[in-house]
Symmetry: C2
Subunit: 361 residues, 2 copies
């Protein structure tokens, strides 16, 4: 993650993984989730915070979820229905459950199908927010599988290349593969120039957005550094930005995500479905193609080459997707998660408001 | 395709599809391919030229293939072996055949598996050049399937973000989905800022490369417009370019391609396999997830929204991946393929040299 998204040291309060989990679990249960669903949802958020992906952890998301439950827009006890199923595939209706609540079950189903047949893919319509996509792909790794996840998240944020109107949300995509002795490859990106949640982080932290990240409301790219505007005051560009710099590639991947998650699930394109998010998850068993030991050994060769390469002038280190996050998990498990003090204050005032038992340091 | 890659009108010679096919077929047969394999390989190249993707058609590639056959580095009669197979998957050894010769058979196998089970994926190691990846994904569309293709193409061109040494080739990726009344979505991109073949096109055409497309040999990005240097005199940046502009996303997708095509096929990472290219193809039957008619109707809604959108200031039109290529096929079938006169001269001198019967206008 770029430095601009990190909580400044002076504002950090270290909270143990256990304390953060316990507080989050209590909140989800208070919102009406079963104990088991609350544990799943908590695991998605805290895994995100442990990986240094605060943008998708408790800091931004929990207060939104609470507001959605209070407004009755989210169902804490969804009755998930199987709309279609085969030995390799399924389509589920999430019944307005949170994505972080229902999505892990969709990935478990994909993994079970891949265990039995070699591949499993599940699409999931009619859900709320899915959190950090890396979570779902990480689930596949311990089974010696490749994990894939995409989410169609509405259609009011991202404009197509040369376009003046939004069609997509951030439409993120994640892809992970297990290595042997090296930390796994875990790739997880928005198909916009920046994740929407990260934009909101810059406001808490006081940093700015880069040229070519967002547009004015007529689709014109803003080509100087700016403070993040409020939602509704801007649109986002696909990654790459300008056409010459590959914006059509970001736009193409956003379309792929909208097709695989939105259209293939029956949820519809993001700009039509709007309030309902949709997910595509897939697991591929490595042994269906090649010995898992050979695969992991070959991937070690690649990842070691990347991680040990001499950096270009002006840089300290070459890393690959998932490497820094892996190191961050080890550090944060040991030292605690560095939340912004404003987030810790919010947790504690929420405990008082909702009459919960936790108290963060 | 950007204007800089188009053949200037004054240098164009219009050649009919039939004449281009007949000439190419003769050349492949002369190189030792069976009649059937020559027809398959010809179809990959001419489909590329019809779609306006000259970079991957006969203009750049045929003379390379002939040189490779003459040097004995390519096997015109490969004995393709099945290394592993399941109802949903297979891994093939291409026995040093050309990618455009063996790759279509791998995709046919994936489609047959998807027809039977819902999904089919095939990896293919030990091959030559695969041409335009869109070709393989297009094969899936008439079966109401989504098509995916990736190719690991060596490791001497693309440097990782912040890196000083090349690890990947252009590591391209393609993804296609069928619509109803709209032309299909067909996405096909290099994970570098530009396809290597397109760089070579700029030299014939006399145009330049953009800032942030390539690096010097110590990995330092070249940030002003330059003429395309010779192979060996530069490295390429992942799409996105700089880290702030999303270069880590291009780098991540390049890694995904190297894993799915190179490592999963057993060919090994691109920088290790070097001379052997490797492919991943996949077909997903839409009916395994949702009614194909609903899928195609929903995709029409999305594609119409994109194609009919008011463009941002300074632009004529919004398009989606595959739209212009679809229109170009109709035009070129009618009017002929606009080859550079230098390419037509090469065809005719090759006919004399190899004692072939064709003669282009």
């Amino acid at each position: 993650m770029l430095k601009r998204f990190l909580v400044p040291e002076a504002d950090q309060v270290l909270v143990s993984e256990q304390a953060a989990r316990a507080a989050t679990q209590e909140i989800f249960e208070k919102m009406g989730m079963s104990r088991e669903d609350a544990a799943l949802s908590t695991d998605v958020l805290i895994t995100s915070d442990l990986r240094g992906c605060e943008s998708h952890g408790v800091s931004n998301m929990l207060r939104n979820y609470i507001a959605q439950y209070k407004a009755g827009r989210q169902n804490p006890r969804p009755d998930v229905k199987v709309l279609r199923e085969s030995p390799v595939s399924a389509t589920l209706d999430g019944d307005k459950g949170l994505g972080i609540q229902v999505g892990p079950r969709a990935m478990t189903m994909a993994i079970e199908k891949a265990e039995a047949t070699g591949m499993g893919a599940v699409t999931l319509q009619n859900c709320g927010h899915f959190g950090m996509l890396a979570y779902y792909t990480l689930m596949a790794l311990e089974h010696d599988m490749i994990g894939i996840c995409m989410v169609s998240a509405g259609g009011r944020l991202q404009v197509p290349v040369f376009g003046s109107e939004p069609v997509y949300g951030t439409q993120p995509i994640a892809w992970a593969a297990p290595a042997g002795k090296m930390p796994p490859f875990v790739f997880d990106v928005a198909t916009t120039q920046v994740a929407a949640n990260k934009m909101m982080l810059t406001r808490r932290i006081g940093s700015q957005l880069e040229p070519g990240w967002i547009t004015t409301l007529d689709g014109t790219p803003i080509m100087e550094p700016v403070d993040a505007p409020n939602y509704g005051g801007f649109y986002m560009l696909p990654f790459g930005g300008t056409r010459e710099n590959g914006g059509h590639k970001g736009y193409g991947f956003a379309t792929i995500v909208d097709i695989m998650a939105g259209v293939l699930s029956g949820n519809g394109p993001g700009f039509v479905a709007e309030a309902s998010n949709a997910q595509f998850v897939m697991a591929m068993k490595i042994e269906a193609f090649v010995d898992a030991a050979k695969f992991k050994g070959d991937l070690d060769v690649l990842l070691e080459r990347l991680a040990n390469m001499k950096p270009a002038k002006g840089h300290d280190r070459v890393y690959y997707a998932g490497l820094i996050e892996h190191e961050e998990v080890e550090k944060r498990r040991r030292e605690g998660i560095p939340y912004h003090r404003e987030v810790v204050d919010w947790f504690n005032s929420t405990a008082r408001e909702l009459e919960l038992s936790y108290s963060l340091p």
